[in-house]
Amino acid sequence: MLSRTADNLYWLSRYVERAEYLARILDATQRLSALPLAYVGTGNEWESAVLTAGCAGSFFKTYETATEENVTDYLAFSTANPSSIRNCFEMARGNARAVRTALTGEMWDAINGTWLELKRFGTGPGSREETSRFLRWVQESSLRFDGSAYRTMLRNDAYWFSRLGVYMERADNTARILDVKYHLLLPDNERVGGPLDYFQWAAILRSVSALTSYHWVYRESLKPWLVADLLILKEEMPRSLASCYEAIVRNLDAIATHYGRQGPSQRQARGVRTRLQNSKMDGIFQRGLHEFIGEFITENNRLGMAITEQFLQ
């Protein structure tokens, strides 16, 4: 297939996935900030949301402090923030339009419908209820798009590149949450926040839609090290790093088999996956959770570049 087409498909999926992630962060933060102060400590949740979204730099150029209002606006509706939900959908639709032929009718319908509906929300909802409705709509839109891709695309390279986009973005997002919140997940975190952090842990799980899964996997009350385990090493958890890399390797392998050639991106992806498979939480905590996450983010970015070089240009 055309390199440009593969590139558009890859980014189309990344942008839709990112929009959903941002909606989840906002949703989780909204819940957290609605709690009485005594339950969540004194931290500024909205600042933390900006950090997790990875746009603190540009945000604080515009705003001095992070409030519910300006963070919601910046992450969801801003036209100035290149990674706002609005812009993610705009970019996704732009990419979709450029590769209409590689999309199924259902996928186009999903993304174009989303883009048309986006206009209905105007410059942003006025009330909290409207914001909630908006965030739910964003998640539904992403589910609809993802579902239509999954259910209707031919299983060929177009599909694999589009899946790669999903998992590369997802791995990056989960890693970013961990990067910002790692201090809450250390085993002896009593020093950091004590049992008050229950709601923080719940919020982390919620932003990767894993709160229910947690209980199914561990059948235990929330323990920070188990939360870390779930998000990093549990392959059965769809947003964990391990699960993302399982999927990345699988899709890159499908491409390699189809093209009859392995390349640098396949080798790199397998390397990262093997490291995740051979890791135990104890070891990760001993070496330093933060360092581990930092290295992962670097590796993930390197893989992104390798994929671009090998296929997309």
Binding site: M1, L2, S3, R4, T5, A6, G94, R97, A98, V99, R100, T101, G105, W108, D109, N112, G113, L116, D157, F161, I255, Y259, R261, F311, L312, Q313
Partner: protein
């Protein structure tokens, strides 16, 4: 204009013509709000699938819908058969004419078409002189604009031999109609059009360079997402199952065209290009073009790739050349033209010009290289001032214009604000020419002037479209 022929009710407006019998009965049964409801539903569907076009020069109109009329335009099988013969003849003549113009130039030597009309024509491509093209086919895809003035008379209004557009509307209009009015379909036997993409692909494959040994690799070259017909390009590529490429996806090495793929360079044999001559190769034509592929002309003239349509076919779109079409048909085929030409005055000829200047209020005056309904004067509906302004333009550069009588385009029942009313229509059938002959799917794009009395059907001027039914018996 009151004398216009109505496709449903003929000239006198009393007896319903047989092809429209069933539709007429149905229109009488169906409550008006149902029509209106379906019309809105159609618009919604169109917007959702994203069938939009852009109108150049309108800031806020990057994506606009062409209005769709839910009442079909119907042709009897016999009418279509006649039209089909005429179209085949016309396009065969066009191909022979273009081959001759860039080859032996017999028609010029025979004094039938004046030389300077060819050589001084901006659409003439000297680069094509003496070039042969695969299978001698220049116009693989033609859109011939047809108007009707009475039960028996069809005129060709324009030949579009460059990159005719609109075929996606023909296909989508049918899809929508089948979705919205299944009951109407069960009451008619309508010839299908959905095989057009198949026919097109077969045509394109058949014109691959003769040296191509494997299955030819066909691509569709688009100027990109900002082009007004981008929707159509992507739609067609999808239906054809070929890659939709932009200039930057292709490159030329050693006079061979390749596309950049995820598996490295892949050779291209046939390019269905929807990019004008001017822009296809910055090395050969406009150096500022970023839409094209540097070196494409060298690969083309080396015979390593087929361009559909060929370079230089614009010569046949010229409205002054058009006026010679009856002679062109006779010259190459030795036959009487089956389709009439609209009588045309060439303003470059002094007697014609003086006639035109004397009769401006009754004539339609067009630029010879114009298209899309831009820059024309419709005498009967123009203001005195507009006519005088046009007169001045005409006097300064008479060569640029032709004039035609204001023809009463036939009307067809159309759903408008006030209910169902007659509106003027034209028809653009799409004629495919491959190495194994001419193929035309029964039907085409019917364009309709939605404003009462208006004769301008162009979408850029507020025209709409209709589904076109050719009855299968």
């Amino acid at each position: 204009m009151s004398s216009a022929f109505d496709e449903m009710k003929g000239h006198d407006g009393t007896a319903v013509r047989p092809a429209y019998g069933e539709l007429d009965r149905w229109l009488k049964e169906v409550p008006p709000d149902v029509l209106d409801y379906r019309r809105r539903e159609a618009e919604l569907i169109f917007r959702r699938i994203g069938i939009t076009f852009a109108v150049y020069g309108e800031a806020d109109a990057t994506e606009r819908l062409i209005p769709f009329d839910v009442i079909p335009r119907i042709m009897a099988a016999e009418e279509w058969r006649r039209l089909e013969k005429g179209l085949t003849q016309r396009v065969n003549a066009l191909n022979l004419f273009i081959k001759d113009v860039y080859g032996d130039r017999e028609i010029l030597r025979a004094g039938i078409v004046p030389e300077d009309m060819i050589f001084r024509n901006p659409a003439f491509r000297p680069e094509m002189n003496g070039q042969t093209v695969p299978h001698d086919i220049y116009v693989q895809i033609a859109g011939i604009d047809i108007i009707r003035v009475d039960a028996d008379t069809f005129y060709v209004l324009e030949d579009n031999a460059r990159t005719p557009s609109g075929v996606s509307y023909m296909l989508e209009n049918r899809e929508i109609m089948m979705r919205l009015f299944p009951e109407l379909f069960s009451r008619h036997r309508i010839a299908p059009v959905e095989n057009y993409p198949d026919e097109l692909l077969a045509t394109l494959r058949s014109v691959a360079p003769r040296s191509t040994s494997r299955e030819p690799n066909v691509v569709l070259l688009t100027p990109g997402v900002y082009n007004s017909a981008y929707y159509e390009h992507s739609f067609l590529a999808d239906k054809l199952g070929v890659e939709l490429v932009e200039g930057r996806d292709l490159f030329v090495k050693d006079e061979i065209v390749y596309m950049r793929t995820t598996q490295g360079p892949q050779r291209v044999d046939v390019i269905y290009r929807r990019v004008d001559d001017d822009f296809i190769d910055p090395l050969a034509f406009r150096p500022d073009s970023i839409l094209g592929v540097p070196g494409l002309m060298s690969a083309y003239t080396a015979g390593n790739v087929t361009l559909a349509n060929a370079v230089g076919t614009g010569i046949a779109d010229d409205k002054a050349i058009y006026s010679f079409m009856p002679d062109i048909v006779k010259f190459y085929l030795g036959e009487e033209p089956l389709l009439k030409n609209v009588p045309t005055w060439r303003c470059r000829e002094p007697e014609h010009l003086s006639y035109v200047l004397d009769h401006l209020p009754e004539l339609v005056v067009k630029e010879v290289h114009g298209s899309g309904g831009y820059g024309m004067l419709i005498g009967p509906s123009a203001s005195k001032i507009a006519i005088e302004q046009f007169r001045a333009k005409l006097k300064t550069a008479p060569d640029n214009f032709i004039a035609q009588p204001t023809l009463a385009l036939s009307t067809s029942p159309t759903c408008v604000e006030q209910g169902v009313a007659p509106r003027h229509v034209d028809l653009r059938p799409f004629v495919l020419t491959g190495s194994n002959g001419v193929r035309i799917v029964p039907g085409g794009l019917t364009r309709v002037a939605l404003k009462e009395g208006s004769l301008v059907v162009n979408s850029s001027q507020g025209g709409g479209t209709k589904d076109t039914w050719v009855l299968d018996k």
